[in-house]
């Protein structure tokens, strides 16, 4: 039977489109949101999306369509052909990839994650219970389980298919309105999913955060837990996108080969890790994905490219399309060699920070930014927590942060939550001389 995406490709080429890539995504996603220890809403979705790239004589169009019933196909195809024909040629045009690509095989997907239904509620219950046992009064969060299929065909003969599944919990515990802790559990299998542990850890951080002291402004050495380090490194790797680099919306613009961080820091995009949250076999152009080193021992090695940005840069695609903007799939910060239990001692004196949010830039090109520290934050002396602190903001520069990384722990955690859209595997980090500011008027 000819499937929808194949049918659309044929309709497009029959009507004069020279090159096209058509992708059909079919996703099913269930979630339970909760607050004050109780579910607030359960959500289910079943959505098919067609993504179409087309080009005629270097005129190109990219669109996504959720009106995918058969009745609308004629209209979609008519619109795509008309718009493509009427577009001006673009110098950013690159041919649709063709060739005999070799793809990884054997990706395993746990399809049952799409059929958990009411069991999601009991997982929420486990996380809430664990937080209470750890000393929190109340919890809020969201649990997602999802399964999807992606099918890609191209005018150059590619015909590809892969599946995804994941279960992710983002859990925040409150021991008081000021004393909060947040942690996640993210996995591609039920076996690797541990809502109880996420609830326990969030609850424990919340309990430890009771009665915080207002932070004094200054420059501190900082021990960052994986969650806050993932928030920052997710942005760093995102800035390797060839598109963002070319519009100067990145502090990495123009720095290939330069030392931009400490020797301890190596960041890769690796969608080839079996069972990884961001495991991916092919990109939106059908090119096989690959492991790409972005930063190696502090030196910026590679940007992430699709065919278009690669053409502008005189480079090759790294299998990271997005047709317009390439992006990482599965960010990995290579671990260091410090045992987690020794990190506090390595810090000595400074701040132990567990989470952040709302990272914004004064200048993308220079990397001047600030972000709000949230959830557990603690003042440390002689390798021991002295007391929780509040009111902290990191007001610094991304390259300076990378350069001041002194230690990384030896264990990686998979992080995907509200602030971290692309799955990010990170250790904990010790970063020297981080500028911390606070608000006037406390």
């Amino acid at each position: 039977m000819v499937e929808l995406h194949e049918k659309v490709l044929k309709m497009l080429t029959d009507r004069g489109v020279e090159e096209a890539i058509v992708i059909l995504y079919s996703t099913g996603k269930d979630s339970v949101r909760y607050a004050n220890n109780e579910p607030t809403i359960s959500v289910s979705e079943k959505i098919d999306t067609l993504t179409i790239y087309s080009s005629i004589k270097e005129r190109s169009f990219i669109g996504s369509f959720e009106n995918v019933s058969e009745n609308f196909l004629e209209r979609i195809v008519d619109d795509v052909v008309t718009i493509t024909k009427n577009s001006p040629p673009t110098p950013y045009y690159a041919p649709v990839p063709k060739g005999f690509f070799s793809y990884r095989v054997g990706k395993k997907v746990e399809r049952k994650l799409s059929r958990l239904d009411e069991r999601l509620v009991s997982h929420v219950s486990d996380a809430v219970k664990a937080s209470r046992e750890a000393g929190a009064e109340r919890s809020a969060g969201i649990l997602y389980s999802s399964h999807g299929e992606e099918k890609l065909v191209s005018s150059t003969g590619l015909n590809l298919q892969e599946e995804f599944a994941a279960i992710t919990l983002n859990h925040r515990a409150f021991a008081s309105p000021e004393a909060t802790g947040q942690w996640v559990s993210c996995s591609t299998s039920l076996e690797g999913f541990n809502p109880y542990e996420a609830g326990r850890k969030a609850g424990e951080i919340a309990r430890m955060s009771l009665n915080p002291v207002l932070i004094e402004e200054g420059v501190y050495d900082v021990y960052m837990e994986p969650l806050i380090f993932a928030n920052i490194m997710n942005e760093v790797a995102g800035f390797a996108s060839g598109f963002l680099v070319q519009i100067e919306m990145s502090f990495l613009t123009g720095k290939i080969g330069e030392k931009i961080g400490s020797e301890k820091i190596t960041v890769v995009d690796d969608p080839t890790i079996p069972g990884g949250l961001g495991e991916k076999v092919f990109d939106d152009e059908g090119i096989p994905t690959q492991r790409t080193v972005i930063i190696e021992n502090g030196v910026l090695r590679n940007y992430l490219h699709n065919s278009r940005t690669a053409k502008v840069a005189g480079a090759s695609s790294t299998g990271n399309a997005g047709i317009i903007s390439p992006h990482p799939w599965n960010i990995v910060v290579e671990p260091g060699n410090v045992k987690e239990e020794n990190m506090m001692q390595k810090l000595g004196k400074g701040l132990y920070l567990t989470n952040s949010w709302y990272q914004r830039y004064q200048n993308y090109r220079t990397g001047d930014f600030s972000t709000i520290v949230r959830d557990g934050a603690f003042y440390v002396e002689d390798g021991e927590i002295k007391h929780p602190v509040k009111g902290c903001r990191i007001s610094d520069n991304l390259q300076r942060i990378l350069s001041n990384i002194e230690e990384l722990s030896d264990k990686l955690y998979p992080i995907k939550w509200w602030e971290v859209e692309v799955p990010t595997y990170v250790p904990a980090a010790i970063i020297r001389n981080v500028k911390i500011t606070r608000a006037f008027g406390y």
Binding site: D30, V32, R33, A35, N36, E38, P39, I41, S42, V43, S44, E45, K46, D48, T49, F61, I62, G63, S64, F65, N67, V68, S69, F72, I83, N86, S87, P88, T90, Y92, E118, V121, R138, A140, G141, I142, N170, R172, P177, Q246, I247, E248, M249, I324, Y358, Q359, R360, Y361, Q362, N363, R365, T366, D368, S370, I372, T437, A439, F440, G441, Y442
Partner: protein, 477 residues
């Protein structure tokens, strides 16, 4: 739409039969088309069509939402069953029941008209217009090292129906434009500006942005700030902020903390809670000259609507009146918890997400002073007209705004440009330190993010210039 009206009626009947005490459906037919210029050349032409059905059910006091764009009867039935089943399972963990405030059920159609139809502005003319903007910028004799200009026009058509008899259809066209401009100087470095424009209506909205004039001014200003600015004062001084900065303050420090779902803890794990408690109505938070409203009914505004996504009639709300907390933003769920009527603040970014409490056009009401009057009484201070970096903590108390176009004020006069002055301040200190409000009301289009999954919705932030006495100003780095 007749077919859809029929389908939504069937969904209501089916869900009630399956055990739901309340059901609503929201059908969207949304499309967006756009074109982006990267350094003066068309990157690609883009389009995004979304069409599908979202529904909410109350079952045993549990709330469920489901959505699909596969409108075949067997699939729609399946997702309704799932919504009911999941809502029932959730209810088993609840100590109380989710209820909605009682509201009037309207049956009507509302739409925003295009005085000049966007479709009549040919596609090639749109591209030519963007290219002419780009050329104008490049002919200023300033080193603009990169430009990204993205124009987009969207239309959202919705049909809302619930088991209480509401049946509302609507249509809103919205053009918008985003730009990132980078200016470089060999000795002074690099400075950047992001700009957003948006409104509801047709080509007349795009014309009202006066893009040519504004972009030219922005580029010249960036160059001036980059090449001439000095370090800002470091200490406690008076500050005058322009409309753009007033707008982000009203949005972040008044609008968000006034969202009842945050106050009740429902956004606790994501956007967070609020410095406000339910009992904080009438609490003094600012000086008597501070009045903040949220008003979805401003014609042509980016956050315009007449009925919200729960079918409740929209109206202007005072968030802060004469310096005191006056009203929270509510939807039907939070209104029931607070034992009030909803004030029509429920919005959903698409058919596939639940409606949650949102702002629309949030702004400080204008006063009577000219900008010159505000400045004239400042012996030493900083005038912050625009900003780039900003953020605020998840209780909306501890915020930071870093100025972009900014100047020293000396003896009542605007003098030298200053580089990236930092205002980092608590909400109460900020609003309490406002001693005079300008009459130069203006608005800035923005996309507000909230919810999980993230919902970006169009809003205006706005207000006039404000004079803020004796607050700390610092610098970046």
């Amino acid at each position: 739409m007749e077919e859809i009206a029929e389908l939504s009626k069937k969904v209501l009947d089916y869900a009630v039969a399956a055990g739901a005490s309340y059901v609503e459906t929201r059908f969207h037919n949304d499309f967006e088309r756009g074109v982006a210029l990267k350094n003066g050349e068309v990157e690609a032409v883009e389009a995004n069509y979304e069409m599908g059905l979202g529904l909410r059910v109350l079952v045993n006091g549990g709330l469920g939402f489901a959505s699909t764009n596969i409108l075949k009867p067997e699939n729609v039935t399946r997702i309704v069953d799932k919504a009911v089943k999941m809502a029932r399972a959730s209810s088993s963990l609840k100590s109380g029941r989710t209820v909605f405030s009682e509201e009037e059920a309207y049956s009507l159609d509302w739409r925003v008209s295009e005085k000049k139809r966007l479709e009549d502005w040919s596609f090639n003319d749109k591209i030519a217009f963007l290219k002419s903007l780009d050329e104008t910028i490049m002919n200023l004799g300033i080193n603009v090292s990169s430009r990204y200009i993205a124009y987009s026009e969207g239309k959202t058509e919705r049909l809302y129906r619930n088991t209480e008899g509401a049946l509302i259809s609507s249509l809103v066209p919205r053009p918008s434009l985003f730009a990132l401009i980078t200016v470089a100087d060999s000795s002074k470095g690099i400075m950047q500006r992001t700009l957003q424009f948006g409104g509801s209506g047709g080509l007349e909205i795009v014309e009202s942005w006066r893009l040519n004039e504004k972009l030219v001014n922005e580029v010249k200003t960036l160059h001036k700030m980059l090449t001439e600015s000095i370090k800002p004062p470091d200490g406690v001084v008076d500050v005058v902020v322009g409309s753009e900065v007033t707008g982000i303050i009203s949005h972040e420090a008044s609008g968000h903390p006034g969202e009842a779902d945050r106050i009740l803890g429902r956004e606790g794990a994501q956007a967070g809670e609020s410095y406000l408690k339910i009992s904080d109505l009438n609490r003094r938070i600012g000086s008597e000259v501070v009045n903040v409203v949220d008003d979805p009914t401003i014609p042509g505004s980016y956050g315009f609507y007449l009925f919200d996504d729960e079918g409740v009639k929209a109206r202007r709300k005072y968030l802060i009146k004469e310096g005191r907390i006056y009203e929270f933003l509510t939807n039907r769920e939070t209104a029931a918890s607070l034992r009030v009527k909803s004030n029509g603040s429920a919005r959903a970014s698409g058919y596939d997400v639940e409606p949650i409490v949102r702002m629309s056009n949030t702004y400080v009401l204008p006063g009577e002073h000219s900008v010159e009057e505000l400045l004239s009484d400042v012996a030493e201070g900083v005038y912050v007209k625009s900003f780039m970096e900003w953020n605020i903590d998840d209780k909306r108390w501890n915020q930071r705004y870093v100025g972009l176009e900014a100047y020293m004020i000396e003896n009542g006069k605007v003098t030298k440009p200053v580089r990236s002055p930092v205002i980092e301040i608590t909400t109460e200190k900020l609003f309490s330190s406002v001693d005079a409000v300008g009459k130069d009301l203006d608005f800035t289009a923005a996309t507000c993010g909230k919810g999980d999954p993230m919902q970006g919705i169009p809003v205006y932030t706005g207000g006039p210039s404000l004079r803020i006495r004796g607050i700390r100003v610092g610098s970046v780095g």
